[in-house]
């Protein structure tokens, strides 16, 4: 290579660099993780889309069936139950954990003696893995377990039933421990948000003669807008990906009555080895998550501007 050629090349490269305005180091930091992501995340995800159009038992070659899996879903009663349960989960688990977490944060926001203990106690469940949580709660729910003895103790013995084995109660019996955990988490997020509210605003509101309720309604809640968006995205994502607690408590049973889309996808894939159909369910979950989150983000951005 001649000296001029090298010179030209370097000049060209530096010109390019200037035009992009990015140092090669940054490019490395972007593209290396991107390459890794592409292999471990994007490519499998794309494969999942392809698999959802096939029938595949994991052994032989997949056979292409077009939208057959999605058509089958429409008439699949288990899928419908799972879809319905996922909606119930989103509303009950999501709604109650926001309400509960916010309530607890309001209650425990003031610095009082011993308040730290209560905050810690409410936050403790977050520390445990959900599988451990499930184990503890299963002991509570077992026949003649804590739940049954408490009910009997307060004279409501007639309500006793096999909580996790009764199709009418199984889903709700699983939501309770999920909430027990999530409320502490949401509470911490709101506590942090409440700390950031300027006390002068309350002072001013009080001077204007606003009641406690009015202060909450017109000062606290609007000031928490930023936190709300975080909490809502966390809740939606957590609800749609809820799997561990249901799987370790009921495995979607008895006879699919507490099935969520996530558990149904898992059992279809790894127990019934219908990997094509399971991929189709995964696609549905993905689209749902995308719709909810996009819908929310678009609204949030519109409000910002």
């Amino acid at each position: 290579m001649t000296a001029t050629a090298v010179e030209v090349k370097t000049r060209r490269r530096s010109a390019k660099r200037r035009s992009l305005g990015v140092s090669p180091l940054i490019l490395v930091f972007v593209f290396v993780p991107f390459a890794v992501e592409a292999v471990w995340v994007f490519w499998p995800a794309l494969q999942g889309f392809w698999l959802s159009l096939t029938n595949w038992d994991g052994l032989s070659a997949p056979t292409f069936v077009g939208l057959g899996n999605f058509r089958e879903m429409v008439s699949d009663p288990i899928f419908r139950t799972a879809l319905k349960n996922t909606a119930i989960w989103l509303v009950l688990f999501g709604g109650l954990s926001v309400a509960g977490g916010f309530g607890m944060a309001l209650l425990l926001q003031k610095e009082r003696r011993g308040v730290g203990i209560y905050r810690a106690a409410l936050f403790t469940p977050v520390v445990f893995s959900l599988v451990v949580t499930a184990l503890i709660w299963r002991v509570f729910y077992q026949p003649d377990g804590l739940v049954d003895s408490v009910l009997r103790g307060i004279g409501l013995g007639d309500l006793i039933r096999p909580w996790l084995a009764d199709p009418d109660t199984a889903l709700y019996a699983v939501i309770v421990p999920a909430l027990w955990r999530q409320i502490g988490y949401v509470m911490v997020l709101y506590l942090a948000g409440l700390k950031a509210v300027d006390p002068a605003l309350y002072e001013a509101a009080r001077v204007d003669g606003a009641s406690a309720w009015q202060r909450t309604r017109y000062v606290t809640i609007p000031q928490l807008k930023g936190v709300n968006s975080v909490v809502l995205s966390v809740i939606v994502i957590d609800s749609l990906r809820s799997f561990d607690i249901v799987w370790s408590m009921t495995k979607g049973g008895p006879y699919h009555s507490s099935e969520l889309l996530s558990t149904y996808m898992y059992s279809t894939a790894f127990q019934s080895t219908q990997l094509g159909y399971a991929s189709a369910i995964a696609v549905v979950i993905f689209l749902l998550a995308l719709a909810v989150i996009l819908g929310y983000l678009i609204r949030a951005f519109r409000e910002e501007t």
Binding site: N55, W56, D57, G58, L59, S60, E72, P77, I78, V131, V132, L135, R138, V139, Y141, Q142, P143, P162, W163, L164, A165, D166, P167, S248, K251, G253, P254, Y255, H256, S267, F270, Q271, S272, T273, Q274, G276, Y277
Partner: protein, 425 residues
């Protein structure tokens, strides 16, 4: 899940610890990837991850390596992981050479995909094995693909002292069985124990037994192989019979797994329990002497008697790097010495598949062996006669039946629809 029932519980306490099982099964996953390096060492992938069974396997491999016939490297994988990974192992480019697995339909499905090593030459050294074992180890294409090494049996287990206290004797026929149930219930005790929470597959034992007693083993096998229809009136007849004893089932059995049903039986809180011998692994030793079983009652004397005797053993990958070394090891595993070594070091309720192998020397095992030997036909278990993929459809259908027996027509219709989907996939 059904396949790990054998390895499920060893080393765990009966009570609360039983609930830990699903968590353990996944968290103790030793990395199960890949085959052995091509060092002339055979890679043996084992799903016998329970403490005792694992130790027994280690002793067995150690003993073989000492013979100088070759070296085998044992790789123990949690059974649930093993089950879901098995297809991946077998289809990978460099698969482990040997695998612990189950005989019958579940092995045959891999043979159909041409993934298993033909081990006919090993069978030439196994002349003393009964015909039933041969049939069980032969693929649909007529090749020997499996080497059975041990089996166990299912029966109605009970405590001798409790039966004496309640004044009942083991029944032989369905009518006698109903009478025993009534008598036990009159003492205020649920006669039939069951454990469906977390282990719903236990209910399949009832379906299997009622079906082979009423319709016979060939019908049962065809049905499970997808050659029948669950909406068949003959299948409904099974549930009609089952309904007669439904009032005698322990209502709490829905909520806990079979391990807790075991402790309920041992504690005298239920009368009898239809279960495989593996349940005894977690029983305290002093209770074991008090345990006995009787054969599932005869319903139709004209139907040849079949028993459930799930058989365990080994198969090898078609892509094994050194097929001759694999066959040499399999030949060793088929000997009475190797099987006795395993049985002695494991929980002791398994029976060697080699007729010359000595089983544990207890009256219970002798009785079980005699029952299996006198049976006209042997079946494996629901998932082993059908497939792991069909098992969840049975779990849903059977637990629903136990809960809502009057919806049986709809349940059977749903079951058939779910089964069709599995067979089609």
């Amino acid at each position: 899940m059904a396949p790990d029932r054998r390895t499920f519980l060893k080393g765990l306490g009966v009570l609360g610890a039983a609930a830990l099982v699903p968590g353990c099964a996944t968290s103790t996953s030793s990395s199960g990837s890949g085959g052995g390096a091509a060092t002339g060492e055979l890679a043996l992938q084992s799903n016998l991850s329970a403490e005792q069974a694992k130790a027994a396997m280690e002793k067995l491999v150690e003993a073989y390596n000492k013979t100088g016939g070759g070296t085998v490297k044992l790789n123990t994988v949690a059974s649930e992981i093993f089950r879901t990974q098995l297809p991946t192992y077998l289809t990978s480019a460099n698969p482990p050479d040997l695998y612990t697995w189950y005989a019958g339909s579940v092995a045959n499905s891999y043979a159909e995909k041409d993934l298993l090593l033909d081990v006919t030459s090993v069978w030439d050294t196994m002349g003393n094995y009964p015909k039933s074992m041969q049939t069980l180890s032969t693929s649909a294409a007529g090749q020997k693909i499996f080497v059975p090494t041990s089996y166990y049996w299912w029966g109605m287990f009970y405590r001798k002292s409790n039966f004496a206290k309640w004044g009942v004797t083991p029944p032989k026929t369905w009518a006698e069985f109903l009478a025993v149930c009534q008598k036990i219930q009159a003492q205020g005790i649920p006669p039939i124990g069951i454990g469906l929470g977390d282990t719903p597959w236990v209910a399949s034992a009832w379906f299997d037994y009622l079906n082979i007693r009423i319709n016979g083993a060939p019908f049962h096998r065809d049905l499970l192989a997808g050659k029948g229809d669950f909406t068949d009136p003959k299948v409904k007849a099974v549930f009609t019979r089952w309904r007669e004893v439904l009032p005698y089932f322990d209502p709490k059995g829905k909520s806990f797994p079979f391990q807790e049903a075991t402790s309920a039986l041992l504690g005298g809180k239920t009368g009898m329990f239809l279960i495989g011998t593996f349940f005894a692994d977690s029983a305290p030793k002093d209770a074991l002497d008090d345990i006995d079983f009787f054969q599932f009652p005869i319903i139709d004397p004209n139907v040849p008697v079949a028993e459930e005797a799930p058989t365990d053993g080994y198969f090898a990958s078609k892509k094994a790097k050194d097929p001759e070394a694999v066959k040499k090891f399999l030949t060793y595993l088929a000997t009475p010495a190797a099987q006795e070594l395993y049985v002695q070091n494991s929980s002791g309720t398994a029976i060697p598949a080699n007729p010359d192998g000595k089983a544990a020397d207890t009256p219970l095992v002798a009785k079980g062996k005699a029952m299996v030997n006198s049976a006209a036909e042997l079946t494996q278990f629901f998932n082993r006669d059908s497939s792991d993929a069909l098992q969840p459809t049975a779990d849903a259908a059977l637990t629903k039946f136990l809960d809502k027996p009057d919806q049986i027509d709809q349940i059977l219709k749903d079951w058939q629809a779910a089964a069709t989907k599995v067979f089609k996939a």
